[in-house]
Symmetry: C2
Subunit: 105 residues, 2 copies
């Protein structure tokens, strides 16, 4: 569940969100968007957790790949519904991963 | 709970982890480390969620501030205990936040 990513540099999109109390369609859409993201060019991996605050980090080969995903038609619709129904607040941060290290399973 | 951060550029440390089944001391230490981090020079904010996978993102003014925090004596001890007892696996990613946008509460 920790994403396996190549040696840096690569890019990360940190999406932090607080939900509304509207559940209608949210879980299905979230699942669809993850499935769709994994099929996009330049997608490297995704990590997600929610505990009140939700944090989803997706990893990408390039800024171009991130722009492409942000502009995907189905994703644009999901973003619009997110703003209108599902999210009380969110912040998206586009980052360049400069260094990484860790302990494997 | 979404961190309030200044205009980019600034830095993010994405810490993704899987826990062991050892609970002894973990919650207290995690709380202490967040409290200590917030008092470090260059600290900007922190966001955290766990749902199986844990994701903690801390935000910093500079790479120097991140190095300083990584080398803090109490934090070094916590890192050692984390590797030995609490974490089955983890990955730390040091990132430069280049752009951000969102919807406020």
């Amino acid at each position: 569940m920790i994403a396996t990513t190549p040696a840096p540099p690569y890019y990360a999109v940190i999406f932090s969100s607080l939900r509304t109390e509207v559940y209608d369609g949210y879980a299905d859409m979230a699942e669809q968007m993850v499935a769709l993201a994994t099929r996009q060019p330049g997608f490297l991996g995704v990590e997600s957790a929610r505990e009140g605050l939700g944090i989803t980090v997706s990893y990408w080969e390039s800024l171009e790949a991130i722009r492409h995903w942000k502009a995907h038609t189905d994703h644009l619709l999901a973003q619009k519904m997110g703003r209108e129904k599902w999210y009380a607040a969110y912040k998206t941060r586009i980052c360049k991963v400069e260094r990484d290290y860790g302990m494997e399973v």
